[in-house]
């Protein structure tokens, strides 16, 4: 075991750092949705042109063709350089793209992957439904097969960037009368299709990050199904395992940097003399370090076996609760500043409120504990 990198990897890290140092935009990502989209596209285009998009994606689809280790190095340097959040490109880069690489036909990959990497195509997710949140298998939105088309009816919720996306990874019930995990299909939905209505949802921090999407006889070519009709559960799980494994490395490094910044500020302000704050910050610093170590272990296992390790579900749960603790600490450090929070503010309070999603979205912390208990520890399901 070792934590050091090879000389090639060290050189790669230096290249990342140099390029990011010279190219990370000085301005913050705009808050306004339209400006943010233009910003996200421009930045992704710049990354793509310079060869920094899809570090571990195959070269034939526009990626760099390097290993997961280089991807980790890139993400670490990316976060250290305070490079912008990928924003509207998140789903394409972290969900849709990896799922296509693992499951899609050559034609699907050749069309979509380069467009994701270049920022040309924005993707959104369509898994959760109002009646199927943590219970993903409870999906009721249907895709009725009519000739070479699926006719879609129903609704999806918690869809980020639905209003600006070009494509959606959409999981549908394509076998009438099927139950639970059976009879689902993972499809690529053109968000400009007739019959789609989008309702933005304002969240408790004032942002409208999510949307509800309604489908009224929306037609999708059967050719847009990925991984075969009826195999949607398996395909969706492959996406989630990316999310639970290495999809959050940038966030993790961001947490490390934030904790160090909190410590620095608490030291300057004298708050660090409060033993309670000092001990809590020390623990957070240890925990974010351990999270990196867990991720390294997971990446190391993936490098050996080709897939994220069994402990990915542990990382997912720990990440989500740790991020909330970091966000709460940030709020504690601003003291009574929390009183002045207003919708539109982009500050630690907004992050704290947004952070409730950590233990809800993508399977609640309760569901994660079920998964760990049953799949990792082999405990029986309840009757």
């Amino acid at each position: 075991m070792r934590i050091g990198f090879t000389p090639e990897q060290d050189r790669f890290r230096a290249e990342c750092r140099d390029w990011l140092g010279a190219n990370v935009p000085a301005e913050r990502r705009p808050l306004n949705a339209a400006d943010a989209l233009a910003f996200d596209r421009a930045w992704q285009g710049k990354l793509f042109t310079a060869g920094w998009a899809g570090i571990d994606w195959p070269t034939r689809y526009g990626g760099r063709g390097l290993s997961l280790v280089e991807q980790v190095i890139w993400l670490e340097e990316y976060a250290r350089a305070h490079a912008p959040w990928v924003g509207a490109n998140f789903v394409g880069l972290n969900h849709g793209g990896p799922t296509l690489i693992a499951n899609a036909s050559e034609e699907q990959k050749a069309y979509h992957l380069p467009r994701i990497l270049s920022g040309e195509a924005i993707w959104c997710q369509g898994f959760s439904e109002p009646g199927a949140g943590s219970d993903l298998a409870g999906i009721r939105t249907t895709g009725r097969v009519e000739g070479d088309e699926l006719v879609v009816n129903g609704s999806k919720i918690w869809t980020s960037f639905a209003n600006v996306a070009d494509w959606q990874e959409l999981v549908l019930r394509t076998e009438p009368g099927s139950q639970r995990q059976a009879g689902l299909s993972w499809t690529i939905c053109d968000m400009r299709s007739p019959g789609i209505t989008i309702r933005p949802i304002r969240m408790m921090n004032g942002q409208t990050e999510f949307c509800e999407v309604f489908y009224d006889d929306v037609r999708i070519p059967v050719a847009n199904v990925v991984g075969g009709l009826g195999n949607g559960w398996k395909v969706a799980m492959s996406t989630l395992s990316f999310e639970r494994g290495t999809g959050f490395i940038a966030d993790q490094v961001k947490n490390m940097i934030e904790v160090d910044e909190h410590i620095g500020r608490a030291r300057s302000s004298g708050l660090l003399d409060d033993q309670r704050i000092a001990e809590d910050l020390a623990l957070l610093r240890a925990e974010v370090a351990a999270l990196r170590a867990m991720t390294y272990r997971n990446v190391s296992e993936a490098a050996r076996t080709g897939q994220p390790g069994a402990e990915a579900s542990l990382i997912r749960l720990f990440t989500s609760e740790l991020a909330q603790r970091v966000e709460r600490m940030a709020v504690r450090l601003i003291g009574d500043g929390i009183v002045d929070f207003a919708y539109g503010d982009d500050d630690p309070v907004a992050e704290y409120l947004r952070g409730f999603a950590q233990t809800i979205a993508g399977g609640s912390a309760q569901i994660q504990r079920n998964i760990i208990g049953e799949r990792l520890l082999g405990l029986p399901r309840g009757r």
Binding site: G131, G133, I201, M204, D336, D340, F341, A342, F356, Q366
Partner: protein, 296 residues
């Protein structure tokens, strides 16, 4: 010794609760109707402990706390608290806002609408000052707005009981917020189905709700005790009230957070009301927090 509300107090509580359900529904906590204050004043809530010769019903602080917990459950205006305290201890005959420090010199005047006086908590002591309200800005609590002003000249309120009174009412509001969060979570857990049954049937959710019930009951019990201690002039009243305030605010924050988790995604939306008690709790946390030394 009797910490059970008698039939009279219980009847008053129930009447208060009933009125509030129709007039102060939680879903509209961020958008209260104009003229609400006059209605609230007409209900007499800011004069509950005034003696009969001063035009009040002469109720005791425990009954007042019971009523203010109901008000708190509906995120009623903070100015009810400051006005009740001002009326009782300074004889002020009109609406008073509630001011907390804003840095070293300035003030955040909470709930300033319609007021030109504010009760201010400065360094563990109370004072009254005059102010002119500019345009009010939001606070994190969607039912409370504020104006921030510079230095103001305080008339100290000498009666030591005034600050204790204020703290009891703040604790009562926090107990109300904790209860509101608990009730919302329990109600949602009974209705929302996942995996083929109400989520409240799962221990993971059921036990969160049970812990919320403990938080609320602990805080409410100490509130009653503290209010009685104030009424009866108990020697340790400072500790009992500090304990009540701390436990109530902790309960309100813990239950507020848990309520959002129980609601899942919908709990994070602005349109659902799950976030309201938590935000109120985060405001209450910073209004006249008890000093550590009062607790040791």
């Amino acid at each position: 010794m009797d910490l059970h509300p008698g039939p009279d107090a219980e009847a008053l509580r129930a009447a208060t609760a009933e009125w509030l359900v129709s007039r102060l529904p939680l879903d509209r906590a961020s958008n209260r109707p104009a003229g609400l204050w006059d209605e609230l004043e007409a209900m007499g809530w800011t004069a509950l402990t005034l003696s009969e010769d001063k035009g009040g019903p002469g109720l005791d602080h425990a009954t007042e706390a019971l009523v203010f917990a109901e008000l708190g459950r509906h995120l009623a205006p903070l100015a009810l608290i400051s006005t009740a305290v001002a009326r009782r201890w300074t004889g002020l005959d009109r609406r008073a806002a509630l001011a907390i420090p804003d840095g070293a010199a300035g003030w955040r005047v909470l709930d300033p609408e319609g007021a030109d006086r504010a009760i201010a908590v400065a360094d563990q002591a109370l004072g009254l000052f005059a102010f002119t309200s500019g345009e009010a800005r939001p606070t994190i609590d969607l039912s409370t707005r504020q104006v921030r002003i510079g230095d103001a000249s305080l008339d100290p309120i000498e009666a030591p009981a005034a600050l204790l009174h204020l703290r009891v009412l703040l604790a009562a509001y926090a107990v109300g917020a904790a209860d509101a969060a608990r009730d919302m979570a329990v109600e949602y857990a009974k209705l929302r189905e996942q995996f083929g049954q109400p989520i409240g049937a799962f221990q993971a959710i059921k036990h969160i709700c049970a812990d919320m019930a403990v938080q609320s009951a602990v805080a409410r019990s100490q509130l009653y005790y503290a209010a009685c201690a104030l009424q009866e002039g108990d020697a340790d009243v400072g500790f009992y009230i500090a304990a009540a305030q701390m436990l109530a605010v902790r309960a309100a924050i813990a239950n507020g957070r848990a309520n959002i988790q129980v609601h899942g995604g919908i709990g994070m939306t602005d349109e659902a009301r799950a976030h309201l008690p938590l935000k109120r709790a985060h405001l209450l946390e910073h209004i006249a927090p008890p000093a550590l030394r009062a607790l040791l």
